[in-house]
């Protein structure tokens, strides 16, 4: 490895590449970039053995585009298809934040708070980077939202691979355990949106197995999400909005009636989100997913009884039976060792 390779830091090479491509009107060919731009030129060989530098350049282009910088290619007139003559540039007008985009101190405060909502994964990293770009405007936030610490988790392992597939329009496969089902089944889908509804992350996708749009709960995806190597054409914008409005409609359409024990934790908490409180301590709860509601109602034990619908009632009863049985049998293995 050449000695001077380590002397130019990654960010210096990337920064120099961005500056060089912003400065050129007609674009630079790859040979021009590799032989003249800081960070490449030190490693450029006149004899043409530049394969690893070539690969470096490819990765750097990806990194730069990932930051939202419009790095474009221009084909030489009459020479389309000739990669040697392909020119690269960053049009300044598309790089600069449009002049009409300005922010008030209150808006900066709100955006900074929005960025703190994410504490993990790619959303956190990207919102921190967006805030860094916002700071470049030099606007001090006001103190209108001091005293808040909001947080959304993205703890399902499927979240990151699905988000990346969503942005790259990649067809993915995963194994999915349907609500109330016992056998996970493979699905092949085109991811269209990721949405959080009622505190749960869902994938909205075109399901190729049934050639229709379906919604999948991320928590029911079993095992790894895998890309297939195939991509699809992105559709019209608005898939996320569509997904949320379908979920809202479903939530509106499904209602359970339950009874809660007077004075219990269940009564306090469930009354707060009940759409109706009828006579005799009965509450009406809207829901989107029967199995998730059954899990939640089961956690309240004897403080909650489901009146209707029957399938929800049965789902809660069978949970209690299974839970009682699992904890009445002698504990497996090493009970004796426990404190």
């Amino acid at each position: 490895m050449p000695q001077n390779e380590a002397t130019v830091a990654v960010e210096e090479r990337l920064f120099s590449l961005v500056l060089a491509l912003l400065a050129t009107e007609q674009g630079l060919t790859k040979a021009e970039i590799l032989s003249t731009v800081q960070g490449y030129r030190q490693r450029y060989r006149r004899d043409g053995a530049n394969a690893s530098l070539d690969r470096q350049f490819e990765r750097d282009k990806d990194d730069i585009r990932e930051l939202g910088i419009p790095l474009e290619t221009v084909e030489a007139p009459g020479e389309s298809g000739n990669n040697q003559l392909l020119r690269y540039r960053i049009p300044k007008g598309e790089y600069d934040l449009p002049r009409e985009v300005t922010f008030t101190p209150e808006e900066i405060a709100m955006l900074s708070l929005a960025a703190t909502v994410w504490r993990q994964g790619s959303l956190s990293r990207e919102s921190q980077r967006a805030i860094m770009k916002l700071r470049s405007l030099g606007i001090e936030p006001d103190d209108s939202v001091i005293g808040y610490a909001p947080r959304i988790r993205t703890r399902e392992p499927a979240f990151e691979p699905l988000r990346s597939a969503l942005d790259r329009h990649q067809v993915v496969t995963f194994t999915y355990l349907r609500a109330g089902g016992s056998t996970p089944r493979p699905r092949t889908v085109e991811p269209l949106a990721l949405v959080q509804h009622q505190g749960r992350w869902l994938l909205y996708a075109h399901d190729l197995n049934v050639d229709a749009r379906r919604t999948f709960l991320l928590s029911r995806i079993v095992g790894k999400v895998k890309t297939t190597g195939r991509t699809f054409t992105a559709g019209e914008p608005g898939a996320a909005e569509q997904a949320l409005s379908e979920l809202d409609a479903l939530w509106q359409a499904q209602v359970a009636t339950i009874r809660t024990e007077p004075g219990s934790e269940a009564e306090t908490r469930l009354s707060k989100r009940a759409s109706g409180v009828t006579g005799g301590g009965r509450l009406e709860l809207h829901f989107t997913d029967r199995e998730l509601l059954a899990d939640e109602l089961a956690s309240f034990g004897p403080e909650v009884m489901v009146v209707r619908p029957d399938d929800l009632r049965d789902a809660v009863i069978s949970r209690h039976r299974a839970n009682a049985a699992a904890h009445r049998e002698p504990a497996s293995a090493s009970e004796g060792e426990t404190r």
Binding site: R135, Q198, A240, G263, T268, R328
Partner: protein, 334 residues
């Protein structure tokens, strides 16, 4: 933020591209002010400035002549830790957001629609469109359901801003109900649950309250006696205590994130099965946790914990078999 990860190459590039327009805007700024403003260490700013000062474009000669490079006032920088750009190259404006960056902020803003500040939705609506215009490509399809803020959150929020006490009835996980008087200090959330952190006068200690367990929330005129700066509000919502009970459970390795808040230690027993020791304040909490994750976790011991979990479900089943106490029969439409 204490959880911040170190900057990667891409993040450092974003810093360089953001720092230049910021410095242009300010004329002269101290390293410490710039660091505070960007939320970074002073040395990270110095490192970026040193790099900017020697960077530029190849220029007509392809030789990076002085005129093709940025420059700073080196004396000011080295002697007084102050930054002034004295020569500029190409860059003179803020960069756009990437589609993923814009999407992350947009989804965060949608989540914040639950804040009382957003009752009129104007700030968020206008920000959503500015972010879309300011992104170099269509923001990716990630969205969070917008909520309306509830009355209790609004009352408590006003009290936080005014520095006045609030009172409410609070039901704990044991079903015990108690009147509390609290200095509200911070409003926190985790997905769709909202919490109040504050100094509880009833307990004379810092406490965390779930909004959905409060009833009869009242604002008062009394000023708070403990301020956010006076008390330590731990970062974690759920804190371990020496008084916690330890419980051994078994579960599938995939399910560990569901109980991450309670885990004290884990040990793999088979390829995909894990034995974990959980910390819980009391078995009331445990039985709700386990019953709400049916078939996911099994309590292995101690025997008293197993018995309480089993009883919780058995009592529930008894209600369905003998519906007299909380009668299930239709009382008739009156």
């Amino acid at each position: 933020m204490s959880e911040r990860e170190p900057l990667q190459g891409r993040d450092k590039l974003a810093l360089l591209l953001s720092l230049v327009p910021y410095l242009m805007e300010h004329g002269q700024v101290s390293v410490s002010d710039a660091a505070a403003y960007f939320g970074l260490e002073p040395e990270q700013i110095r490192e970026a400035v040193r790099l900017i000062a020697v960077s530029g474009v190849p220029g007509e000669t392809d030789a990076y002549q002085p005129d093709d490079l940025f420059d700073i006032d080196w004396d000011l920088f080295l002697d007084r830790d102050e930054i002034v750009l004295t020569h500029l190259v190409v860059l003179d404006d803020s960069p756009r957001f990437s589609s993923r960056e814009a999407a992350a902020l947009i989804a965060g803003l949608q989540y914040l629609s639950a804040l009382p500040e957003q009752a009129d939705r104007q700030v968020i609506g206008s920000l959503l469109s500015k972010l879309s215009i300011g992104a170099s490509a269509r923001p990716s399809e990630v969205a969070v359901e917008e909520r309306t803020s509830d009355a209790d959150l609004t009352t408590v929020r006003s009290a936080v801003a005014a520095g006045t006490q609030v009172e409410f009835d609070y039901v704990n996980a044991r079903g015990e109900r108690e009147h509390r008087r609290v200095d509200p200090l911070r409003i926190e959330s985790l997905d769709d649950e909202w919490y109040l952190r504050g100094w509880c006068h009833t307990r004379a200690a810092v406490r965390t309250f779930r909004f959905d367990r409060m009833t009869g929330v009242q604002a008062t005129e009394r000023p708070i006696s403990h301020h956010a700066g006076d008390v330590i509000l731990p970062d974690a919502l759920f804190e371990a205590s020496d008084a916690d009970l330890h419980v051994d459970v078994e579960l599938a390795a995939d399910s560990l994130p569901l109980i991450a808040d309670y885990i004290a230690s884990t040990e793999r027993i088979e390829d995909d099965r894990v034995r974990a020791t959980l910390r819980v304040a009391h078995y009331h909490r445990l039985k709700r946790l386990v019953a709400g994750l049916p078939g996911v976790i099994t309590v292995v011991g101690p025997p008293a914990a197993r018995a309480q979990v089993a009883e919780w479900s058995e009592e529930a089943l008894a209600r369905y078999e003998d519906p007299s106490p909380a009668s299930s029969g239709d009382p008739g439409v009156s």
